[in-house]
Amino acid sequence: MTQTASAEPKKGSALKRSRGGAAGDKVFSNTALAAGVIILLVLAFVAIFLVTESLPALWPQVFSNQDSIASADTFGQYVLPLMGGTVLASIIALILATPVAVGIALYISHYAPRKIATPVGYVIDLLAAIPSVVYGAWGMTFLAASMVPIYGWLHNNLGFIPFFAGDPSTTGRTLLTSGVVLAVMILPIITSLCREIFIQTPKLHEEAALALGATRWEMIRMTVFPFARAGIISSVMLGLGRALGETMAVTLVLSPGVFSLSLITSGRNATIPSEIALNFPEAFGMRQSELIAAGLMLFIITLVVNMIARWIVSRHKEFSGAN
């Protein structure tokens, strides 16, 4: 009896203490829940705003009693070339940036001596912090002009490829230049993420590969890449997201125009963000709805891209080598 009596107060005190802990737990889980709900609400409100504001442009006959929208007959005619330009510029950026970024990340994680790897890592992270308008200014004043002779060469030697057909630009303000600027901008994002993932490759895997007689390159191919595949894809998709939505740099660098496969001609192609940035300040009525609807399309493109990325990542999970 005395034993149980003495044990009970102990239990009680332990319960009290754990009650305090339970309250903290509750507060924390509710805060986390609230944060989750807020982000979903914000996203929902953005989506609702975009849809309601773009209705007059999406169905002009129903919502604004007009036969056509302000800049074309149908919304598709207006937005499809813009979507094409946006995707084209982003693809150029990805093609240029991905191999370089993976290379830099590999160098930092597996090749460079520590003394060099750390400062290089810092510089790469610094690149990510430069505002896009600075990239735009650099692209506009320096890069565009220095691309002109390259365009001339591409046109003369590879003009049979549709991408390099058409009159080469005399100022370099083309979609290809925009793509190069975008590539520089997304390079640090892909690099830092890849570096983090490469570093996490299990040491035992690497050492086992080397012990089997693999060269360093074979070791990377056998252990690092399979382990990091999902991570590389996610980082590339993150970079793609930035390239798709980049506004200021493209606005400054590109002379926009109608859609065309030719990447080296000025006054061709435009991207959705720069179209919005150029025309939104003075747009009103139908034109404003059009631009917001174009924004909605960009929203959808990013959504689709992210879903595809998720799908690819989940498909490769089993082969990641981590398990």
Binding site: T170, R173, R268, F284
Partner: protein, 367 residues
């Protein structure tokens, strides 16, 4: 305690009452002034006038907002440079008491305006006149290159692609034109400058300019472009052989085309631009129909006219007085020279001023 707490409140009330009575007094005063014909003493007009619209007038408007304080110290004017279309829209739904606009109101808008301004409707004052220069970057050519409207249209559509093309050379005897590609630079954003320039091309060179009069450059002409006036000017500056159109006050070091008018070639100047508005046909609502293909000597035909749009009759006396005082100042010689200093616009001619003052003096109150 209670008394000390009440004291500030009482003081506030007293001040409020004084201010109110002062307002009443000033209203009475300005009424008297209005009836007397000219605005009364400088202290009589007080209040805030809110307007919005064309961003082309922005720097001129800043000068006017400051300058009008010299005549009416208590008249505060706010101007939102939201763009011509938004300005007219804001005016029509009562947000702005006056609108700045690069384009005159169309019939639809004018009939809408009757709900705000009463059955008398609105009138336009061509308050801001700015010559649009056709500017080029040819460092080796010192004299102004001469081009007639047809040549300008062909250059900007890309039909003429070399500076030493026969069409240009034949108009510039004795000028050494380089064997260089012409790089056409236009505005990437929608712009009243583009609209004016294409209006000129469509009127003066209908055979060569087959595109419409547009705010956004026709997309099937592949050419260089940049954002805003500053963008096209800096791109032209950095590209040898480039040609563009831009607000004449902003072209800086660039050479400017002497535009063919009739038999002669006219370089842009404030006088020549004001002359274009003076000789234009003025509609009943105050808007002007520029004679773009004029053959009259000394007239520079590529001119941007930006209006101030006012109600003929306002809903209350105070707004009417404020609008009248501001409008009077803007078209006055002082106001126009202030804008010339700040924005490089062309002062309106005496004839235009007289016509505008007739409408401004008639601003009244509904009912």
């Amino acid at each position: 305690m209670k008394i000390t707490r009440l004291a500030p409140a009482a003081a506030l009330l007293a001040v409020g009452a004084l201010t109110l009575s002062a307002c009443g007094g000033s209203n009475g005063g300005s009424n008297g002034g209005g009836e007397g014909g000219e605005g009364g003493d400088s202290g009589s007009i007080a209040g805030t006038l809110i307007g919005g619209g064309a961003s082309s007038q922005e720097s001129a408007m800043t000068a006017w907002v400051e300058g009008v304080k010299g005549e009416h110290a208590d008249l505060t004017v706010q101007y939102d440079p939201v763009g011509s279309g938004s300005g007219r829209e804001g005016f029509l739904n009562g947000q702005y008491s006056f609108a700045g606009s690069d384009a005159a109101m169309d019939d639809d808008e004018k009939s809408q305006a009757e709900s705000i301004c009463g059955p008398e409707g609105v009138f336009h004052v061509p308050a801001y006149i700015s010559p649009v220069a056709v500017a080029y970057n040819l460092p080796e050519v010192s004299e102004a290159v001469k081009m007639d409207a047809d040549t300008i249209a062909k250059v900007f559509t890309g039909e003429i692609s070399k500076w030493n093309d026969e069409a240009i050379a034949s108009q510039n005897e004795g000028v050494e034109l380089p064997d260089m590609d012409i790089t056409v630079v236009h505005r990437a954003d929608e712009s009243g400058t583009t609209e004016n320039f294409t209006e000129y091309l469509a009127a003066a060179a209908p055979d060569s300019w087959t595109h419409d009069v547009v705010e956004a450059w026709p997309s099937d002409i592949a050419a260089e472009s940049a954002q805003q006036t500053s963008g096209v000017v800096s791109l032209t500056n950095s590209t040898e052989g480039a040609i563009t159109y831009a607000d004449a006050s902003q072209v800086g070091e660039l050479g400017t085309v002497a535009v063919g008018v009739g038999e002669e070639y006219v370089e842009y100047s404030a006088d020549a631009a004001a002359q274009a508005v003076e000789s234009a046909e003025q509609a009943e609502d105050g808007s002007v129909e520029l004679d773009r293909d004029t053959e009259e000597g000394g007239v520079y035909p590529i001119v941007l006219v930006s209006y101030h749009i006012y109600c003929k009759q306002y809903q209350d006396q105070e707004t009417a007085d404020l609008a009248k005082a501001f409008a009077t100042y803007v078209v006055s010689e002082a106001g126009q020279s202030e804008a010339e200093g700040a924005a490089g616009s062309a002062p309106i001619s005496a004839g235009t001023r007289d016509a505008a003052m007739q409408s401004i003096d008639a601003i009244g109150v509904q009912g």
